[in-house]
Symmetry: C2
Subunit: 351 residues, 2 copies
DNA sequence: CATCTGTCGGAAAGCGCTTTCCAAATGTCC
DNA sequence: GGACATTTGGAAAGCGCTTTCCGACAGATG
């Protein structure tokens, strides 16, 4: 006699749909229709039986099986450059919020600033048949890497996946672009209006496009304000707190001539302020400091940082929406996001 | 005539194993053995053919199909309380690092401080047959929720999954425990040694065990230092920057009597310092402030925060190791992590 | 040369689910 | 009451992979 079904241990692992169907005395098809969303309706009576059985067995559909049977998932791949950087996790938070509303699952991958890994992750998401992939990276000037990433994204799109990038245009995909140049230009104008005439720029890595745009935008602004830009001190370093620290240190050691220092992002600005402090250069009395991004976690810094405000969470939400809305065959769109200059205590008005 | 296989569009989506096998002129089984790790070896000649075909077609195995065929995944579920909080993403970063080394995929879920969602996510990971789940949450005193989470984790473990928790013991699972009490006690002793006798505690939410432990540990320390604890001012508020701000504000408005304020975590301490600044209370001249955690992003704050240092990234790595190492049937282990008191500028020595 | 062992490739049976197709049951209309 | 459309439930064919068998073949042994 075979009583295994009714007696015996409850089988390792979660209950399967077959078991639910058996218990409810209906077919697999019916159980599936009741539990896992289908366009066909099932009669009241059976429906209730299935639901009851599922509840009793603690049934949860195996998403892998569904993925493979349906040939599509509800996974959204999110590739960020560095999870430990507030810029990225704030955007990530926005993306996750938006995706949760659409009951999509976000799989987050942090490349740890390795572009090679970025490509690898996109490829992994393609293999996984993710519904969409959102890349929040930093564009570099490395043509070969960019091309490979673009190719991988194209493959992904051709396989039916949706794509959105933040900050990286020229990949032929939907993009949310931060108007770095415009923001930096306005910041420069505002700082010039405060009376500054001698500037230094902590320009970040030379091959990072975001940094470069902010840099050139800033210089543009100075030019428009009639500030001679020939003697602007420029230091390149990592796009991080420590990079900012090192750059500012070098600036001081080389003889700080500027009255105002523009760091290409807030995190660098914070590093710079720390370096100035260590070198007994007072901010803003001896030198003004401005950043870019307006990172929330840094708002309690003293003196408060003058910066260009970006709504990063909104940025993330928009990127997600961009990837997921509209028809797959729509041409790639570009959403431009503008920053707003916020003057705070880290920059002072010159007499 | 049927030339679809050789001509026609390259079929939407990534190549399947069948196609690779066809192209290489071998069976499905052989192709699988060559490409996706098997204990059986395939002869040199065929092996090379398969590899070549796979490369040419850009083949990537579909992980869902593998998951379902193997009955196991290489997914590690990571459930954190709030991705936008440095405490959590630092731990998350550690977990991801450790998992990457073992070539496991981390799926990160942020509950946004909702315990209900925490349970839901664990359940989702169970359905997904995740290899392990790591819960980095905040224990509450809510018995019912805790019980449901424990039950869900037990189900997960019974289904063959591995579990580790950070900070939440009494769930019957592997745990990395921060010695909150001990750390807070030592901090209190150190502060008393600086000459402080009148204290206030920003105790966080009353139902949060982490906060409570730090609170009581701190009081213990004061007692051991011979400080009368009857008149310690205690304010409860959210476990966040804004909570700290509100609590400190209230403290000032009620008449600040203490010379030293202990905030149950760094983020609250930062909020408190902001509130003091806004209220023209100078730190550390008028009041000393201490926190807990030693969040990296906050190290450039002025004055620098006295706190209890935790190596959060290491914590994450350990949690991952705890979940993944050892046999499934091993009894639940507990790893204790001790914090170190770091005295910095936000607390001053009283004359 | 017949037998045995060991290696290697392939056929086919799943894994847990969705979905198409079919058949039975029900309702509708003249 | 018969011809017809309309539901509603179930059988079974996949989805892309792994893995268990099984058979073929090569070399070793007596």
């Amino acid at each position: 006699m075979d009583e295994r079904k009714s007696v015996g241990p409850p089988r390792s692992g979660p209950a399967r749909l077959t078991e639910v169907a058996d218990q409810a005395g209906v077919s697999l098809a019916t159980a599936s229709r009741v539990l896992n969303g289908s366009d066909r309706t099932v009669g009241e009576r059976l429906s209730r039986r299935v639901l009851a059985a599922a509840a009793q067995l603690g049934y949860r559909a195996n998403p892998h099986a569904q993925a493979i049977a349906r040939g599509a998932t509800n996974i959204v791949g999110l590739v960020v450059h560095d999870l430990a950087d507030p810029y990225y996790y704030t955007i990530a938070d926005g993306v996750m919020r938006e995706c949760e509303q659409r009951s999509l699952v976000v799989v987050l991958a942090s490349t740890r600033r390795d572009s090679e890994r970025e490509i690898e992750y996109v490829s992994a998401f393609r293999a996984q048949r993710a519904r969409a992939v959102i890349v929040v990276g930093s564009r570099t000037t490395d043509v070969e890497l960019t091309a490979r990433l673009a190719k991988e994204l194209t493959s992904f799109a051709e396989a039916g996946g949706r794509v959105a990038c933040v900050t990286q245009d020229r990949l032929g995909a939907n993009t949310v672009v931060v108007q770095n140049r415009a923001g930096a230009t306005e910041l420069a104008l505002a700082l010039a209006r405060l009376g500054h005439r001698r500037f230094a720029v902590l320009a970040g890595p030379a091959d990072l496009l975001t940094a470069r745009e902010r840099h050139t935008g800033f210089i543009d602004g100075l030019t428009r304000a009639g500030v001679p830009t020939g003697d602007v001190q420029v230091v390149h370093s990592a796009f991080s707190r420590d990079g900012g620290y090192a750059a500012a240190q070098q600036l001081v050691d080389d003889g700080l001539d500027a009255t105002c220092v523009f760091a290409c992002n807030d995190v660098m600005a914070v590093g710079a302020m720390a370096a100035f402090r260590d070198r007994r250069v007072r901010v803003p009395d001896d030198v003004s400091v401005a950043g870019f991004d307006d990172i929330k976690t840094l708002r309690d810094l003293v003196p408060q940082l003058t910066t260009v405000h970006l709504d990063l969470e909104d940025l993330g939400e928009r990127a997600a929406a961009l990837a997921l809305d509209g028809a797959p065959e729509d041409p790639a769109q570009t959403v431009r996001v503008r920053g707003q200059v916020v003057l705070r205590d880290s920059t002072r008005r010159l007499p």
